[in-house]
């Protein structure tokens, strides 16, 4: 548009005329060229400033289109990846079904070994093929590796198949802000990781000054802590209340938080924030506190410090429930450490004290400083009986730092110089201390509990059996290092809840156990594979322990569990009722109740299994003996060997019918002694009987002469018995692992009977099934073959379900692709409306400008030609 220049109201001059006309022509021509640009390029605006609002919209639209184009590229990559996965799985279910029919063909008794071996060979081939499927790649990416696609997903050895991937899926953006899982994990398709052992125990890590706030509340964190208001009520009469607002933004750890609060204490308040268990305790040395929120905040409430009404000298906050982290110290798991301060008069000389180990025994520890050492040679002694920590110092010369060193050297406690009474950071701990008694302040919070790291673990995974020494492990990460040793074939990690550890097997075809090594390490860590809570159904690779029958009577008949305890030759048999036994604990309880305490069942302290222990003292075998009068003396008959076999009822027939002296004879249990007219002594007679009675020795109480026959006297040789014994028998006992299949009982002459571990864990995978099936075929174990065939169905179902999942995702991607295409059309249209020339409008404007310029030129020419000079 031509610029509008107002006309002068006075004169018109030649210069003005020329200037106006030139401006008008130039403006019109500029407009024409601009329109011509628009028409020739199709663009309405060339610089954003020509229409900033439209340019802004266009810029956003351009970016959106560019990003959606990238999304489409990503999507196509995802489609290609999933399609390749789908096609690589195509033959798996078919192969497994074919195998199933082959196995069913050789399961009957008419099949020969060579036929079974043939199928087993086929399984070997299938294992190779499935490992190849498991390691299918697309553009150098291992499709079934989970989120980790740069390395092999499965590693096959002679015996087992290890899954090296994870359960996650790689993701990509298939639309703005829309993440899509572009893969399936081999664990979901073929199986790869065992479901067990999921750490069931909450290891309950303690709160420490280094605990990140992000790991509180079970790992959910405590983000965006704001401010709270702290009002200090001094002791009555010593001043007005003082209020301070504490801003906790910027604090990243519990220690940060404590120091921030202490730094912003209200005037006059000797305020401290201490860790107590998994809470934070705020308190003042004298006076009291009220704590309120600021505005609509919830900081005080989240810390558990909200105390708006009744002033309190000390407020213990909420359980902040820290989650386990890889840097969590193992000594900080379970229980709690006593923490507090040791306060001396003056500045720069207080000490923060914490017990080095968990335990309530350290609570209220008495801390005494006694004079008696020269400066620099301080020493500390802890007396556990009196719970007293005595530090020998150089009175008035030793510094707090030196005292802390002495306490740390002793080792029961960890001491740090306290920043709270420092005059400056570089003077901290340099203040001297004086002798005194009971200098500790609020040394509380200790609680019993912890992990037995000294004992270690026994881990078996297939052919690998290892004893893991945990005594050197300091942090959870150290423990994970030990468990994740590639040789063990385990995947150990902190569980998703952040409360415990998951230790799972990567090794298909292998039985996997974690047991104790004489202590409680595995149980403390919650990673024992055989616990009181273990379900009996899971024993024996899912066969269980109890085989339910149609009724209880039948069940009892088919599931016997007998414990026979022989005590001094007396055998007592207990029948443990199998009805209602579901867990190991049920077995333990049932044994206790059935035997009335005569036998107790417990978990073994080495490896895994149940131990039956008899309650009574174990008796050694005893020798039988009997006494019978013999003249003035007595004859004692004693079995030569201990045992019940020596017990017998004898008859002594003392006669005097013959001549020629003493004759002794034994017939069965009849001992005949003929004095033969003589008067032999009783010891001679005993010797004569011993000579005739094998297995027994006769002795007399004296050597008096026997002068007259006494006739027949019966007497019993008794008291002989075998070593005490305990026998476990029955189907349940066999399935619990007290003896192997083919045996009927286990007997011990000791006090205990220990079962083997019948609850090993395994990876639920097609590889495990195939390896087990192959072994069963080679061993011609029909029951096992049938069991594995049933499992094969699960494997086929899993592969089919995964293919269906992939198919569903591909359909989803198709829908997203269609939507992206539609959106692109809409976006490009919108962009066109912002940026592109409306040709109709532009051409109309051009024509209009053309006419305007023409008119302007014509009128200008007319105006310029009009002059008075033409008339003079």
């Amino acid at each position: 548009m031509s610029r509008i220049q107002p006309l002068s109201t006075t004169r018109v001059t030649d210069g003005m005329t020329r200037s106006r006309l030139v401006n008008q022509v130039q403006a019109a021509q500029l407009d024409l060229f601009r329109l011509q640009d628009q028409i020739s390029t199709g663009r309405r605006i060339f610089l954003p400033s020509e229409d900033p609002a439209a340019a802004q919209r266009a810029s956003a639209l351009q970016r959106t289109i560019e990003r959606k184009e990238q999304s489409l590229t990503n999507l196509k990559g995802a489609v290609a990846s999933l399609t390749t996965t789908e096609s690589s799985l195509q033959g798996v279910a078919g192969s497994l079904n074919e195998l199933k029919s082959q196995v069913l063909g050789v399961i009957d008794t008419v099949a020969t070994d060579s036929e079974r071996r043939g199928v087993a060979d086929g399984i070997n081939g299938l294992l190779y093929e499935l490992a190849r499927v498991g390691n299918a790649t697309f553009a150098s990416n291992y499709l079934l590796g989970g989120a980790e696609r740069s390395a092999e997903a499965y590693a096959r050895s002679e015996t087992y198949v290890d899954f090296l991937g994870d359960e996650r899926s790689p993701q990509t953006y298939v639309d703005l802000g829309q993440l899509f899982d572009t893969g399936v994990s081999g664990d979901d398709v073929l199986g790869g990781l065992s479901e067990s052992i999921r750490g069931a125990t909450d290891l309950n890590p303690q709160l420490t000054p280094d605990t990140p706030l992000a790991r509180l509340r079970g790992g959910a964190g405590m983000p965006e802590l704001g401010s709270f208001s702290l009002t200090y009520q001094p002791p009555s009469g010593s001043g007005p209340p003082e209020t301070a607002v504490v801003d906790l933004r910027g604090a990243k750890t519990a220690g940060d938080l404590a120091r921030l609060v202490e730094a912003h204490a209200p005037p006059g308040a000797d305020l401290s924030v201490m860790i107590e268990g998994s809470s934070l305790r705020i308190g003042v040395a004298s006076g009291a506190l009220t704590i309120e929120e600021v505005g609509q905040g919830d900081t005080a409430e989240r810390l558990g410090w909200l105390n708006p009404t009744l002033p309190a000298a000390s407020i213990t906050g909420a359980d902040l429930d820290p989650a386990i982290d890889i840097t969590t110290k193992l000594s900080d798991l379970g229980g709690a450490k006593t923490r507090g301060r040791v306060v001396s008069g003056g500045d720069n000389n207080d000490i923060v004290l914490a017990a080095a180990s968990n335990g309530a025994a350290y609570n209220g520890v008495t801390v005494d400083f006694v004079d008696g050492a020269s400066e620099g040679a301080e020493s500390a002694v802890y007396d556990a009986i009196t719970n007293t920590l005595t530090v020998t110092i150089d009175d008035g010369r030793s510094t707090a730092a030196q005292v802390a060193d002495a306490i740390n050297a002793e080792g029961t406690f960890v001491a740090e110089v306290d920043y709270r009474d420092q005059t400056s950071a570089d003077q901290r701990g340099l203040g001297v201390v004086s002798a005194g008694t009971d200098l500790g302040v609020a040394l509380t919070g200790g609680a019993d509990g912890g992990v037995d790291l000294a004992s270690g673990l026994i881990v078996t995974n297939g052919e690998v059996a290892a004893t893991i020494d945990t005594s050197g492990a300091e942090t959870v990460e150290d423990l994970l290092n030990l468990l994740n040793d590639p040789q063990l074939g385990l995947a150990a990690a902190i569980n998703s809840a952040g409360s415990g550890l998951d230790v799972r097997s990567r090794r298909s075809g292998a039985a996997f156990t974690i047991g104790e090594n004489g202590g409680t390490t595995a149980a403390d860590l919650g990673i024992r594979s055989y616990t009181a809570d273990s379900a009996l159904d899971g024993f024996n690779r899912g066969l269980g322990v109890i085989e339910p029958q149609e009724n209880d009577a039948q069940t009892r008949l088919q599931n016997r569990f007998q414990i026979t305890v022989t005590d001094q030759g007396v055998a007592t048999t207990y029948e443990v009722d199998p009805i209602g036994l579901a867990t190991v604990q049920d077995v333990i309880d049932a044994v206790a109740s059935t035997t009335g305490g005569a036998v107790t069942a417990s978990l073994t302290t080495t490896g895994n299994g149940l131990v039956l222990t008899r309650a009574d003292a174990l008796d050694a075998p005893a020798t039988a003996s009997g006494v019978v009068p013999l003249g003035a003396d007595t004859l004692t008959l004693t079995a030569d060997a201990p045992g019940a076999q020596g017990n017998a009822n004898f008859t002594l027939n003392l006669t005097d019918v013959g001549a020629g002296g003493l004759v002794a004879g034994v017939s069965g249990t009849m001992i005949t002694v003929d004095l033969g007219g003589a008067t032999p002594t009783s010891d001679t007679i005993a010797a004569a009987i011993s000579a005739q009675l094998p297995g027994y020795t006769a002795s007399s109480s004296g050597a008096a002469a026997v002068t007259s026959p006494a006739g027949i006297t019966s007497f019993a040789v008794t008291g002989g018995h075998d070593q005490d014994a305990m026998t476990v028998s029955g189907e349940v006992a066999q399935r619990l692992g007290f003896f192997e299949g083919g045996q009927t009982e286990a007997t011990t002459s000791g006090a205990t009977v220990t079962s083997t571990d019948r609850n090993p864990q395994e990876v639920d995978s097609v590889f495990t099934t195939l390896i087990r099936l192959r072994d069963a075929l080679l061993e011609d174990d029909s029951a096992a073959i049938e069991r594995e065939v049933a499992r094969l169905d699960n494997d086929i179902q899993r592969v089919t379900a995964s293919r269906a999942e992939v198919g569903t995702r591909l359909r989803n991607l198709e829908a997203v692709e269609e939507r992206l295409a539609d959106e692109e059309v809409t976006l490009r249209k919108a962009l066109s409306e912002e940026l592109d020339t409306d040709l109709v409008e532009a051409i109309s404007d051009f024509t209009q400008q053309q006419y305007a310029l023409q008119a302007s030129l014509q009128t200008s020419a007319s105006l310029l030609s009009l002059t008075i000079l033409d008339f003079i």
């Binding site: 030649d14 210069g15 990503n74 150098s140 572009t182 982290d325 840097t327 952040g498």
Partner: protein, 577 residues
């Protein structure tokens, strides 16, 4: 009174008319001369003759020749011209910046930004192929984006330097014009001698007027005519010309943000010449506010991109770990608190983790390195040295502060590598450890040389071990998801805005300001044209008007000739008596 007296009167008239004709002629001749001020011959009756009781007129004379000029309007016009010149320059500066940014075209910075984040998304694509190549491509895209940002910054700097040179050149022009005006002041005063007409030296005044106009287009100034006919010219209260005197100005270079900035100063007092409009003002505004303002915005955007991207990247792990690594950035004082140690991006209170992986045994050891920077009861703040000491205390790692103030970390075993994770302090990004970008602004942005080439592409930290897992090297891409999402993730440092919005702000601010500058320039142009019209209405030449004057003078001349003829006839009559 006699016939001869009448003849004398006629003679006066003829002379006056001839002068009048010459003025008209001069006006016609200069009708097309730019800046010419119309002149007017002012006629006045000659003194009367007393004859008895009669007062008899003796004719006409040219009392003066004056320029038809309105001083106030002239001042207004000069001010408007100065404003328009300044506004035009500023408008052009905005347009130049828009051109070099090239927004709305296919090759703009916005496209490079989107392309870079797209290349990060490409690393999430299975179709991308070999991990090293696709990672290397992402690094190359990052380099391209850096170069594009640098290109815009360099071009903007060239633009700025161009304005600066023009400001420097203005000093000579100002001095030449003030010298010319000073000389003309003297000539006009001498010519007019302080007469009341004030415009006897019309041509000199026109020349001076032109010079003043040129000067005020350079530097806006207050122009006042003195009784002597000379003018005084002051800029912002400081006299530049006072009648026959003038003050020299010179260019002074001042270092601002390590870039030279030219400004005009009086050589005698050293005071700065601070025009409020005109070319120098426009150039200064274009240099300092428009171009440097744009560069500041671009720098802010680049700094945000560098720091925020690095903050995410530095907490991730690559396919391979580091055997040794030296920070890209250095501190001024290793013992100083890290938030006051001269780092371009100050870290905050927090911590980070360094993990050592023994590749032979597969063992990990993770250490938490505290970065204490909060003002609290302990009164301690971490320094680079204290951070180095903490890392050095980790078995298997050595850490030192180099003589140049950089943090150097290395493993003690050739089989060990280390990685970083969980940096809540931002120190890794501040120091340039495990970062993607280097530099701190648009001028020095680049990609980390540690990532150069396919052989180092494995160090691109696309993995971020999930919570509870050991942060070792690996091929997972959790961090890539975070990095790709960073383009529109709300950032605390931008009060919830994203990196793309940060860039949009640069463009939108430029576009809006450019639009406003265009409107202002157009408005001032119209205002100037209006005033020029007004000025023309007073001082311009209208040939028709001059023709009328010409006819009028011609008629007087003819009539006077007839009077002389009549007198001659009368004299002849008298002579023939």
């Amino acid at each position: 009174m006699s016939l001869f007296g009448s003849l004398q009167t006629a003679s006066n008239t003829l002379r006056a008319v001839q002068i009048g004709l010459q003025v008209v002629n001069n006006n016609i001749a200069n009708a097309g001369t730019e800046g010419y001020i119309r002149e007017q011959a002012n006629f006045a009756p000659t003194p009367v003759q007393k004859l008895g009781s009669l007062q008899i007129g003796t004719g006409v004379k040219v009392d003066s020749i004056t320029q038809k000029v309105d001083e106030f309007l002239g001042t207004q016009l000069r001010d408007a011209a100065a404003d328009r010149v300044s506004a035009d320059l500023q408008n052009q500066a905005y347009k130049d910046l828009e051109e070099l940014l090239g927004e709305l075209t296919g090759g703009d910075l916005s496209t490079s930004l989107t392309g870079f984040f797209g290349s990060i998304e490409d690393t999430l694509n299975a179709v991308g192929g070999d991990a090293a190549s696709i990672r290397n491509l992402a690094v190359l895209e990052g380099r391209r984006l850096s170069q594009e940002i640098q290109r815009v910054e360099d071009a903007a700097q060239d633009l700025r330097d161009g304005y600066d040179q023009q400001i420097a050149q203005a000093a000579d022009q100002v001095n030449a014009l003030t010298e010319q005006i000073r000389r003309l002041n003297i000539q006009i005063s001498q010519t007019e001698g302080g007469g009341a007409g004030k415009s006897d030296a019309g041509a000199l005044r026109a020349t001076r007027n032109q010079a003043i106009n040129e000067l005020t287009e350079l530097v806006s100034a207050t122009v006042r005519e003195q009784p002597s006919g000379g003018v005084s010219i002051s800029v912002n209260g400081e006299f530049l010309v006072f009648e026959g005197q003038r003050r020299l100005v010179a260019v002074v270079q001042t270092e601002d943000q390590s870039e030279p900035s030219s400004s005009l100063r009086f050589t005698d007092t050293g005071k700065a010449l601070k025009p409020t409009a005109g070319r120098v003002h426009g150039l200064t505004a274009a240099r300092d506010q428009i171009v440097d303002g744009f560069r500041d915005s671009l720098n802010d955007f680049a700094a945000t991109l560098i720091y925020e991207f690095n903050r995410v990247h530095s907490q991730g792990q690559g396919i391979e770990g580091f055997g040794s690594l030296t920070s890209q950035d250095a501190v001024d004082d290793p013992a100083a608190a890290l938030d006051a140690a001269g780092l371009a991006f100050a870290p905050e209170n927090g911590s980070f983790r360094v993990s050592l992986l023994d590749e032979a045994s597969g063992d990990f050891k993770t250490a938490v390195i505290d970065v204490r920077l909060q003002d609290d009861a302990a009164g301690e703040k971490s320094s680079l040295q204290s951070v180095a000491d903490q890392i050095d205390a980790v078995a298997g790692l050595t850490a030192t502060v180099t003589s140049t103030g950089r943090l150097a970390i290395a493993t003690e075993s050739p089989n060990a590598v280390f990685t970083f994770s969980n940096d809540t302090s931002g120190l890794l990004a501040s120091l340039g450890l495990n970062t993607f970008f280097v530099g701190s602004n648009a001028d020095n942005i680049g990609t980390n040389p540690e990532l150069d080439g396919v052989k180092n592409a494995g160090k691109l930290a696309l993995r971020r071990a999930p919570d509870g897992e050991r942060p070792g090297p690996g091929g997972t891409t959790e961090n890539a998801v975070l990095l790709a999402g960073l383009i529109d993730a709300p950032l605390g440092s931008l009060d919830g805005a994203s990196i793309s919005e940060s860039y949009d702000q640069v463009v939108n601010e430029l576009a809006q300001n450019s639009t406003v500058a265009g409107s202002v320039a157009e408005g001032l142009g119209v205002f100037e044209a209006t005033l020029a019209n007004e000025w023309q209405a007073i001082s311009g030449v209208n040939i028709d008007e001059e023709a009328i004057d010409l006819i009028s003078l011609q008629r007087i001349f003819q009539a006077t000739g007839r009077v002389i003829q009549t007198i001659q006839s009368m004299l002849e009559t008298l002579v023939n008596l």
